[in-house]
């Protein structure tokens, strides 16, 4: 039986296979270790880090929706310093690519984190989450305006030589415009999508279910929107894409690769099926073998033509 080449090269980042776990859904790589060895994955992305520790939003932070969920965790995280002191050393032993997701509310926040996260460590890339409200520009998210999206990436770029992944928000009129902007700003890779803004109301209290009123929609419900955005960005922008949004099984992962994703990231599916990322690695390999592809990368973008 011929071996399928699952290795994946994303700009400067080399992965064993194209399956990554998504920021905010995989902790700091420890919670799912009792289920399987994370070293079997292409990579993991840690929870979004901010310069200072954050308590995040009050509960309830979770609401269920048809084939999906809302979260309003509010970027709870231990902060940059504690991450460097406690979590990073433990991640050194994880045996797979580590992507650090960084979130900020000002350009200085991004600059600080980019310059503080070591280039010679287990960190393979920084994923720049541009979905946070930009407090310097009136609270609209960095990622919803092409100019501020570009600026964030530019500033971050200046402060690190690590490969930069720009993570785009889907809550925009024109995702291609934003993708071009972050490409212009010097991003090496584009990851999409972050969560769609949504809400639910509790019939008993007659108030929003989430303490924070609105939250981010993720899971299978958003898959068609995510896939469409990957398809559009692949057509228009010449950077490798990490596709995510509702991927639950290898079939979904194949759809994203056909649409143009070079790698896929698994988020909410972890909650429902902790083994999903592993099963997707195996499913992709099996699919390539059955369909006669020698390398997984042959799939990328095949739906275009």
């Amino acid at each position: 039986m011929k071996k399928v080449d699952l290795t994946t090269q994303l700009a400067g980042v080399k992965l064993k296979n194209p399956v990554i776990t998504s920021s905010g859904t995989y902790g700091f790589g420890e919670e799912y270790a009792p289920f399987y060895d994370p070293a079997l994955l292409g990579g993991i992305t840690v929870k979004g880090i901010t310069p200072l520790p954050r308590l995040g939003n009050p509960v309830p932070r979770i609401a269920e929706t048809p084939s999906g969920m809302l979260n309003s965790v509010g970027l709870e995280n231990p902060g940059l310093e504690e991450f460097l002191r406690t979590y990073l050393p433990r991640l050194e032993k994880i045996g797979t690519a580590v992507i650090v997701n960084i979130s900020g509310f000002s350009l200085e926040d991004y600059a600080l984190m980019a310059s503080s996260l070591p280039e010679n460590s287990c960190i393979s890339a920084l994923e720049v989450n541009i979905s946070c409200p930009n407090i310097q520009h009136g609270g609209m998210a960095f990622g919803t305006d092409p100019r501020s999206a570009e600026e964030v990436i530019k500033v971050t770029r200046k402060h690190t030589r690590l490969p930069l992944i720009a993570k785009l928000s889907p809550n925009v009129t024109d995702i291609v415009e934003i993708a071009k902007a972050v490409s212009g700003g010097g991003a090496d890779i584009i990851s999409l999508i972050n969560t769609l803004l949504g809400m639910r109301i509790d019939l008993k209290t007659r108030k929003p279910v989430l303490a924070n009123t609105m939250g981010g929609l993720s899971g299978p419900a958003v898959l068609p929107v995510a896939l469409r955005m990957v398809y559009q960005v692949y057509k228009a922008v010449d950077l490798p894409i990490i596709g995510m949004g509702g991927i639950s099984n290898w079939q979904d992962a194949v759809e994203f690769m056909l649409a143009g994703a070079s790698a896929v990231s698994i988020g909410t599916a972890n909650f429902v099926d902790p083994l999903a990322p592993l099963e997707i690695v195996n499913g992709l390999e099996e699919y390539c073998r059955r369909e006669g592809y020698d390398s997984i990368q042959e799939l990328v973008g095949l739906a275009h033509s």
Partner: protein
Amino acid sequence: MIKNEKVIENRVLDPGAGIFKLVLRGQTAKTARPGQFVHLKVSSTMDPFLRRPISIAGINRQLGEITLFYRVVGRGTSELTRVKENQTLNLIGPLGNGFTVPRQGKLLLLAGGIGIFPLFSLIEALDTSKVKVKLLWGAENRQFLEAAGLKTLLEKNLDYEVSTLDGSMGHKGLITDLLEYYLQAFNNPSEKESSILAWSAAACGPKAMLQAVTTICRQEGLPIEVSLEERMACGVGACLGCVCTVREASGSLVRKRVCKDGPVFDGGEVVWDEES
């Protein structure tokens, strides 16, 4: 940690209250501790989407069986009622830290409504020849108490007292009334219960009740463990969906994950009315 367990029994105990008993055979029973929970996949499709956390109410290591009790309140628990005997059910577990199981001394159990369920496994685990147990249980009415396992308590010959909102059984009123009455009794050296210092408490129920009983116990110097509930997504500590706030010895506030760092916490540390 994730496995399919065989459904031995899935049966309604009381159609009125919508309370079901679910017995599962598999590996979970081997290592489960009182106060832990399992995270159940209630549907084979994407809807309902999330797993549902249910406390482990009984652990039978010989048979390799755990017993759960659940109340039907929404779509997830409704789906669960459709699972048939001899089918398998996918679960993650056992999860969480569980209650401290004292080897000696006196344990006051405080249950509000279905908060009784995790306490069942704690009662089961206690060596009642060495630990004196008293249970106070508050609920809406007699029907609920009977539906939710009062008979089990009688069979166990447990020292208990109940309160109901409508007075259909036991004290008419809240469990806090009972609690205050008994704490006074414990404090009174002429009573046979003797000194309050030998007592600790373990509680499970609605948040407001847990806050109230914690306040009372703390006033009397009684250490109390509370089992919290929160909406959960992952159940394993990865999503930060289910946090509560705890005041550390240093005075600083930290978030704890109910699923992973709990569900059982030192009641005295929990910040109840936090708004940040």
